[in-house]
């Protein structure tokens, strides 16, 4: 059933955010540290394990794939919620700080990525 996949995905989110929040708490931070990242790793491990055990039916998979397919529409909705007015009215100092940070980072993508050999057969 699709709900099995949805439930697995939700459980991964809970576990991941719980790890991230506990880590944040341990470090004395007001935010969580990598909760979503941990959740993603948990999902990769859990789905690999469940797949080996033969628990992941097509129906269960479809519960996760649906949300994955809804990712772009959700990101578009997210764009609609941004405080664009504040960004534009933040004045030249804020705008330059933001632009500067982005320009420097893009310049660094290539040199840093050169540290690792990219995979060619990662698709599929």
């Amino acid at each position: 059933m699709a709900i099995y996949g949805v439930a697995l995905l939700s459980a991964c989110m809970f576990i991941g955010v719980w790890i991230g929040s506990t880590l944040g708490y341990a470090l004395g931070l007001p935010s969580d540290v990598g909760g979503v990242g941990f959740a993603m790793v948990v999902l990769m491990l859990a789905s690999e394990y469940a797949d080996k055990k033969g628990w992941m039916t097509d129906a269960a998979n479809s519960g996760i794939k649906f949300w994955s397919a809804m990712y772009i529409p959700i990101v578009v909705a997210m764009a609609m919620n941004q405080n664009v007015v504040a960004a534009i009215k933040g004045g030249p100092c804020a705008i330059l700080a933001g632009i500067g940070a982005v320009v420097v980072m893009f310049a660094l993508v290539r040199p840093l990525a050169a540290m690792v050999k990219p995979s060619e057969d990662w698709e599929g």
């Binding site: 990712y71 941004q82 700080a97 940070a101």
Partner: protein, 256 residues
């Protein structure tokens, strides 16, 4: 008039579901525009994100609120659909089918990118702040934090006790960064070699803004999303850790 009132009530009381119609229509129009007018030169999702940001601007101007279009009552559901809960849920779901082995391969470069990304964004923000006459270590640290993400800025500002105008500026800097990453990523992806998981991991670590990288990669190649996002989601946490402490003290030491 009554018909319109009835329609409006339905739209408001079923916000999330009605947002699906609205976002669906907007995306359909944007994908058609991309196909027919631009012959696919700019991907439909990149256009949809840009249109979303434009609508957010209009919503913000009309209502004076902070949540863009979602502050308009009729489009309140867009706020739920694009809010942090469903955003995080959908980001996590993209990890399904991603390979842990690909992430391990670039793990070290990703962690390095994370720290370089936070420190350099901070330095850029602090230098710009200084150039505009905000020269106290506290102000520089807050705006530097904002150049990291729009969460690190206010967290730093609160910790160091700077004025609310500086905090607002740091949030604005973070939002500018996040919006720019959304728009610029698909355009510069070919130039920086952003077409494989390892580069996406480095990119996620450097940029750090979850919303920016999430949208930027979606418009570039959705298959790269999990690799960029898995690293980027650590950025804000580490930023909140490093900026008000180590980086602030370093700035204070330099500024005297």
């Amino acid at each position: 008039m009554e018909l319109i009132n009835i329609a409006q009530k339905i739209l408001i009381s079923n916000g999330l579901v009605m947002a699906f119609i609205f976002v669906g229509v907007v995306m359909w129009l944007c994908y058609k525009f991309s196909d027919i007018v631009l012959k696919g030169r700019i991907h439909g999702s990149a256009i949809a994100i840009a249109v979303g940001l434009a609508l957010a601007y209009i919503g913000g101007e009309i209502t004076g609120g902070k949540k863009g279009l979602a502050d308009v009552a009729m489009f309140g559901g867009v706020g739920v659909m694009g809010g942090s809960m469903l955003r995080d849920y959908a980001i996590i779901s993209t990890a399904f089918g991603a390979k842990l082995s690909e992430i391990k391969k670039a793990g070290l470069a990703g962690i390095l990118a994370l720290f370089i990304g936070i420190i350099l964004a901070y330095v850029v923000g602090a230098v710009v702040s200084y150039a505009f006459g905000y020269t106290s270590a506290e102000e520089m640290a807050t705006i530097g934090g904002g150049a990291a993400t729009f969460i690190v800025g206010p967290v730093t500002g609160a910790a160091l006790g700077v004025g609310s105008d500086i905090v607002a500026m740091s949030i604005a800097a973070g939002v500018v960064k996040s919006i720019l990453v959304m728009i610029v990523t698909p355009l510069v992806a070919p130039l920086v070699g952003l077409n494989n998981p390892q580069t996406a991991i480095v990119y996620g670590g450097l940029m750090g803004t979850t919303s920016g990288t999430a949208a930027g990669l979606a418009a570039t190649d959705p298959r790269l999303v999990p690799y960029g996002a898995v690293v980027a989601t650590f950025y804000t946490g580490f930023g909140c850790l490093l900026v008000p402490s180590v980086l602030y003290f370093a700035t204070k030491a330099i500024m005297g």
